[in-house]
Amino acid sequence: MKSFAYASARSVDSAQQMVGDNGQYLAGGNDLLGLLKEYLVDPKILVNIKSIPGMDKIEPSGKVWNIGALVTVAQIESDPGIKKTFPGLAQAAADVGSQQIRNVASVGGNLAQHSRCWYFRHRDVLCLKKEGDMCYARHGENKFHSLFTGNNCISPVVSNLAIAFAALDAVAVVQREGQPVRMTMAELYAKAFDNPTAHNSLNPGDLILKVEVPVTRTHSAYLQTSEKHEFDWALVSCAAAAKVADGKLSQARVALGSISPVPHQVKGANDFLEGKTLDDATASQAADLILKNAKPHGHNDYKIPMAHAMIRRTLLKLNG
């Protein structure tokens, strides 16, 4: 990695000031150090934000939980309140990397992490995401890539937490130009769907402050399938959440990761599930709706049946 200056921020304002136009925020550092070591980013300054007080708290409440951006993934995994209220979120956290990663990884960093596409991460491949001419994955090795995208880059979102948050209808609060801006998970990644060089919708200097998670949905679940049993990126991840009363779903949400640059959600499927009692056939119909128009690229076709199974399983987990 190239050299850089370093500073610790005591407040959000000063963090944004210090990071300027060519700085990077440093929290857990798992993603950032990887990018730095492969010369994929070139900041002049790293601004340590772990020193900002108050951003590392999980604040439960009757309506909306506030989860600070500096809360670690390990905290999410082990917090008894989260396990009880948002089991899908706790599971998504448990499936992040390894304990060494979860112990330092922050909620904000997990959401803002960059593409894991092996062409993007390769120091000697200038791909579309790095403002090169072409998406190598599209014509090359794409077994880990997207089934849906709105642009030529087929790198998918890999944040576990984003998928779980999406199903819970959570909102990220982002400090942008001195103002807090509220973004749904769809909005947080929308730019990556359309713009090949974007990893998410954050602008330079934007800082995720917290995530607000409504408690509306009484049930949630998260599942992922990887090539290994643990410490491996998801080939497909799936989160579902709903209010379940008398066996009937309401306000159900399903979101999938690793198959689109955004948490993949289909409104029609969510609507379809409204008022339904979950059984295999219903779950299967929802899966059909969610995967309609999937466009595989030769090596990732298997993700369609895999995702189908995982949607069904995740939904059925909501039954208890």
Partner: protein, 708 residues
Amino acid sequence: MADTPAPELHWPKDPKYISQSTRRIDAVAKLTGKARYSSDIQAEGWLYGMILRSKWAAARITSINCEKALKVPGIKAAVTVKDGERRIHYYGEELAAVAGTSKTACLDALRAIEVKADELPFAVREEDAMKPDAPKVWDDTDSNVSKPKVTERGEVDKAFSECSAVVEGFFVTPVQIHHPMETHGNTVSWTDEGVTAYASTQGISSVRDGLAGALKVPNSQVRVLTDYMGGGFGAKFGQGVEGTLAARLSKEAKAPVRLMLTRFDQALAVGNRPSSFQKIKLGATADGKLHAFQLESYGTAGIGAGASSAGGGGGADFPAPYLYKIANDNVRVTQTTVAVNAGSARAFRAPGNPTASFAMESILDELAVKMGVDPLELRIKNDPNKERQQEYKVGAERFGWKEKYKKPGSSPGVIKTGIGLASATWGGGGSKNTRGEVQISPDGSVEVRMGVQDLGTGTRTVLAVIAAEVFGLKPEQITVKIGDTHYPPGPGSGGSTTCASISPAIFDTCTNALQQLQTQTGIADARGENWLGACKKLGVNPLTVQGKWQEGLSSRGAGGVQFAEVAVDTETGLVTVKKMTCVHDCGLIINKLTLESQIYGGVIMGMGYALYEQRVMDRQSGVVLNPNFETYKLTGLSDMPEFDIVLLNMPERGVIGIGEPATIPTASAIANAVANAIGVRVSSLPITPDKVLQALGKVPTAKPESVS
């Protein structure tokens, strides 16, 4: 003295330590961080070294300019691999190296080196390189494909016509990378007095010879030291380009240089197991005896084939037919090696054998299915090896084969279970050039010395166990000095020959020493409780005695049979290994504890070959796409099955190695278990979820899979 004919030696009948479990004598050093590996050496005034590698898969280098690199603060030396014009044959080939006072300085310096090159077309995948109009890996050839190696015995066509069942299949194995946890590398000091190298190697003698040759320094002026090293698996016998570069940097900078490869480097340039594409045909007569065999295969060993020998690395062939007896030797085998623009192969734990085993054991199971016989029975009928015959019996019983075996695909439900088995054979044997030395001091302390190195197999402990046995002492009372070319020569640690080389040699050495001690002191039996008294009588000078490898204490030929039970999620394609029962023989067991560890290790590496590992080459850019542990996936703790490990102790055979046979059949047994579970075969390794779903017909739009 060591050269006088020794009386015939026999291993003790009722040993106290041999064949028992002795804790690793270097465990404390390794567990407390005190053990200094080659990558931990901090020589006085040492510099950090790093290598600049080609970012092109094929190119003509016109110039390399290190001037700017030398201006980076902290940089003390920079050298090119070769001055002037140069052809590059693969992504990651070494171009230049720098040495400086810190890693950060070296990183900056590498980026400051200016390389001018003309890019050339390349072929990094076997199927591309085989095309007649493919770019040639080597300029002086007209094809990337080697001349076929053909073996034909018996009457193959006639024999197939006599068979009552014939099966055919096409099997693919990937390029596997050694990836020892400690990368390749050395700390080298090259002064007017000579060369001292702390090498992460499995062959201190071969590194000494290699460095001497490359640097044109007399062998006697090169000393190689390997106190501790972090694994090799066949890839660490030479000094490598990195060793030569470290030495040149040291000379230039007048300081010791520690140059360890990065994990990225490790994936590109220091060896791998060749791929294979095997078209195989097997037939049996109605009595279930194998009657005819035919194989056509190709694979790549990287740049090192189909060309001038400049690339080195050897071919991609493997033993065929593997292990089982074909009646009248009705065998036709045609093997070729395809050169591609990628790093060269090197010996990798049981070279050729896991590759050969996968196709052979797979087609054998296909034959069993076709004939409607139990795959275990088919093996028992066709395996000529006596030890394995017992291993089938013992293993099947412990594993519950008969109770568990069911028709392929008949397991109910979404998660289907299945079982499979496969066998191993390995030569091994000891190296008769092995010598040892023991020094017995008047205070009773004992130091055993041998120019061998411990890869992690427990070499130090083996030497201590045998010395303790001979002297009637405890293993922890023996000081073992290894990893120094100044000691009497030991073997390179490869081919599962280490234990069979060092055990007889140190047994002879210690037996000689005991006799001398007894003669010199007049004490009839100096062992055990008499030891201190005898040693005291030595006076002031220690007794130093040498010995050498002797016939009759070791042999060759180890076998094994492994049984696998798997669960396959037919909706996600994920394979879970539930249980491995492994029955192995390796003659006389020296240390049961470390021997079991070796078997665990072999099986776990075989699991990686079965399910996770594969080097992926990108045909567009020519790069290795997964030069890391994120996408080159190694078996982890969560992937562990339940194990049942059984060792057949055969003291009468003497010592035989185990490191390699333990890894040979694992992938085959797992692949057979997967096929038994789901009723269809995934015929290419690794068996990843995408391939399982495809084999199950759940991926309607699938195109031919991509395997490199």
